[in-house]
């Protein structure tokens, strides 16, 4: 076939046939041949693609000299410019799994070349790369090699040819954690009725939405002397200056804004809400109903609190993903901490 896709393969010292634990500290090397699992993998490509060479590195060397190892490995990959990198499978080997995971992450992020690897579900390397690489699910030991290679080869072939992957359980890879919206054969109400009837008859059913697990945040210790404390005002109520200068979304916010409130005594007059999740009429009349700058400024005058922080932070909470909320919180928190803010009034809607 004229247009075979090119595969570069990564293995550790053991599968690279250098040696066992005693060779775990060898530096990375590159050979223009198919070594170890690369051979079995290549034969599973059924002529559609070809392994053009094998990268080998000792597990200890990689984990103890990550930067140097990655530099060498990324350079080899850049020079050979393969269509896809395949690593492992690492089964449940922790150091090997970490190497596969770190390499996968670097190759996808820095070279934008797709990666297929294989791991046991408990391999610590999985979390490093599962969201950006495709990780075939394997058994916990190398006894599963013969089963793993055809699955990895099939995944690699599809990706290299630009075909979309099917469901993880159908294709044999570990879910990347992305919840994708698709069309079902039946409308939602029909699926609900069928699910209920299955439950009532003690038949099997499968939820479409496993419950999320939440982080818990311990409350910060109390502020001992409010009269010396700087307090910042932060809201997810979508209160912004008129005209919404930073174009914050009215739902599913992709950003936050901060505005100087050091010279005003209240938000009323200059601010309004762009939040799409509640009746805006009363917030537009007096935006301090959502973010009480007016009261904070009064407390500042009375000396009850030391100071109102000069910037007010805001975004929209409705429909905003937890991923974005975590990002906004981290960014805003960092700024407030660096500014020496002691406490925050955080209002929702």
């Amino acid at each position: 076939m004229a247009n075979k896709f090119k595969v570069l393969y990564y293995v550790n010292q053991f599968f690279g046939q250098i040696g066992g634990e005693d060779k775990a500290d060898i530096e990375p090397m590159y050979k223009e041949e198919k070594i170890g699992p690369a051979m079995g993998f290549d034969s599973n490509l059924k002529g559609e693609g070809e392994v053009i060479g094998t990268l080998i590195c000792g597990d200890n060397y990689f984990n103890e000299n990550k930067e140097e190892a990655l530099e060498y490995i990324l350079n080899v990959i850049k020079e050979n410019n393969p269509d896809i990198l395949v690593a492992g499978p690492a089964f449940n080997a922790g150091r090997y799994g970490m190497a596969c995971g770190e390499i996968a992450k670097a190759v996808v992020e820095e070279l934008d070349i797709p990666v297929v690897t294989g791991m046991y579900i408990e391999n610590p390397g999985l979390e490093v790369c599962r969201s950006i690489a495709i990780v075939a699910e394997t058994t916990d030991s190398a006894a599963g090699m013969r089963k793993a290679l055809p699955v990895m080869a099939k995944l690699a072939t599809k990706i290299a040819k630009g075909e979309e992957l099917g469901l993880p359980e159908e294709e044999g890879y570990i879910p990347q954690g992305k919840r994708l919206t698709l069309f079902a054969d039946k409308r939602g109400s029909q699926r609900a009725v069928e699910m209920l009837i299955a439950r009532l008859n003690d038949k099997e059913f499968k939820t479409e939405l496993p419950m999320p697990e939440f982080d818990t945040v311990d409350p910060a210790p109390a502020i001992k002397d409010l009269s010396k404390a700087t307090i910042a005002l932060v809201t997810s109520g979508g209160i912004v200056p008129h005209g919404n200068p930073d174009r914050i979304q009215s739902a599913s916010a992709q950003k936050w804004g901060k505005y100087d409130v050091s010279t005003i005594d209240a938000l009323a007059g200059d601010y309004y809400t762009i939040h799409g999740g509640y009746d805006p009429v009363y917030a537009n009349e007096i935006p301090d109903r959502v973010a009480p700058l007016d009261i904070l400024k009064e407390l500042e005058k009375e000396g009850y609190i030391g100071k109102v922080y000069e910037y007010f932070y805001t975004t929209t909470g409705t429909g905003t993903s937890v991923g974005n909320a975590v990002k906004f919180g981290t960014e805003i928190g960092k700024e407030l901490k660096e500014a020496g803010v002691d406490g925050v009034i955080l209002t929702s809607t």
Partner: protein, 428 residues
């Protein structure tokens, strides 16, 4: 109660000199409709337009969708307590202009209306690309506050549907669907061995612009209440809300509530369907405890073996959904939930704002933040620019070539949590 929904299959809508149905074509006299609606002194201007399935037409910003009908036998007509006088509905005969819909258009508060594309990519995402849509664009008089504006447009839509529905009064239907259910005692005698099932329909009831209405009563002011399913199918429940377009229950979806219809389909076969509990979604913690406790109590009093709970909206109502679920499961009642998700653009975020280990059976109707690109339309009814402020759109959503990039949030009925559409979510 016995209700006949007598469907007259509508194959086209055209403007004409007389409002009538002839050979499956609905003709509408636009001038008569406009002057009828302008009897409301709060309305300054009305524009009427038509959008047909397959046409490269975009309708934006859409407030509500209503099915035009006329009641030819039995008490009540239209929407009692709202646009017509009070009556106990759910019994009798209704002629339905099936395949037609009245779509109301107009900025209310600017964030909470949606888009309907009649063709191609966009058509897949909304159930209302398949109806022949009579679009009623309402401009109120100046100086009307948003609440009065919302009420004006809400009433105008309902009145338009009643006005147009009259055209079906003397037309022979193409099919007749009969929905009949006796008292609980009668049904339980008929089906002693079938499991008893209740449908809990949650309605956003969070203040003006975010309310559902039952017989004209704002559901913000009700305790959870029991309905015969026929009542909802016969106009007892309407939408008054301006929440995100993707999962608001439009009036059309109340008239054709898919959970009710699919449960009815199984009634007497695999289940004994006992009825619908309307549950308001309130904003206060006290309100949530009261309504969730009360809902579970009603289910227990009815002797339910299984319950389907559908949500409206997302965010804090996720808590109500899961609180109800926990109470039902703790009482030994098997529960299935229907909800959508807010998993972010990449689908990698937690899907709900709350969690409960009791929620083991959940139908997902899509990620509201799933991003879609809708190609340019040949014709826009309404205002294409509206997308930049709609929930689900942003500044820049409207691209230079006229295409729209937005979240499903902005597409009417896309992630319907009464399961009216066919989206789902899978973990990749």
């Amino acid at each position: 109660m016995k209700l006949e929904l007598r469907r007259i299959h509508i194959k086209d809508i055209q403007l004409g000199e007389e409002t009538k149905v002839k050979d499956g074509v609905l003709f509408v006299n636009a001038e008569e409709l406009i002057s009828h609606l302008k009897e409301d002194s709060r309305i300054k201007d009305v524009k009427v337009d038509i959008a047909r399935p397959g046409e490269k037409v975009r309708i934006i910003p859409v407030k509500d969708v209503i099915e035009p009908r006329v009641k030819i036998e039995g008490a009540g007509n239209g929407f009692p307590g709202v646009s017509s006088k009070m009556a106990q509905v759910g019994e009798g005969k209704v002629n339905v202009l099936y395949g037609a819909a009245v779509v109301t258009v107009g900025d209310i508060v600017g964030f909470q209306e949606g888009v309907i594309d009649m063709w191609g990519e966009g058509a897949k995402w909304t159930p209302f690309s398949k109806t022949f849509n009579l679009v009623v664009d309402i401009t109120p008089v100046e100086g009307l506050d948003p609440h009065a504006h919302e009420a004006t447009v809400r009433l105008a839509g309902l009145k338009a549907a009643e006005f147009v529905g009259e055209a079906g009064r003397d037309v022979e239907p193409d099919e007749v669907l009969t929905y009949e259910m006796g008292s609980h005692a009668e049904e339980s005698r008929k089906y002693p061995d079938l499991p008893k099932v209740v449908y809990v329909e949650m309605l956003i009831s969070q203040g003006l612009l975010h309310d559902g209405y039952v017989y004209g009563v704002n559901t913000q002011n009700i305790l959870p209440t029991l309905l015969h399913p026929n009542e909802e199918l016969d106009g007892a429940v309407i939408s008054g809300n301006c929440v995100a377009a993707c999962d608001k229950i439009t009036t059309y979806q109340h008239q054709n509530n898919s959970v009710i219809l699919d449960l009815y389909e199984q009634h007497g076969k695999t289940i004994n369907f006992l009825g619908v509990i309307l549950t308001p979604e309130l904003t206060t913690l006290e309100g949530k405890f009261r309504t969730c406790d009360y809902t579970a109590k009603l289910c227990k009093m009815l002797g339910a073996d299984g319950v389907i709970v559908s949500e409206e909206g997302y965010g804090n109502p996720d808590s109500d959904l899961l609180m109800i679920c926990k109470r039902l499961e703790d009482a030994g009642i098997k529960t299935v939930l229907i909800t959508d998700e807010c998993s972010g653009w990449d689908g990698a975020s937690q899907p709900l704002a709350d969690t409960a280990k009791e929620a083991v059976a959940v139908v997902s109707t899509g990620n509201v933040s799933h991003v879609v690109t809708l190609p340019p339309a040949d014709k826009v009814i309404g205002n294409a620019e509206a997308i930049s402020t709609l929930a689900g759109g942003w500044d820049g959503s409207l691209q230079e070539d006229g295409s729209i990039k937005c979240e499903l949030n902005a597409v009417i009925g896309s992630t319907s949590e009464i399961g009216y559409h066919n989206l789902t979510v899978k973990l990749y």
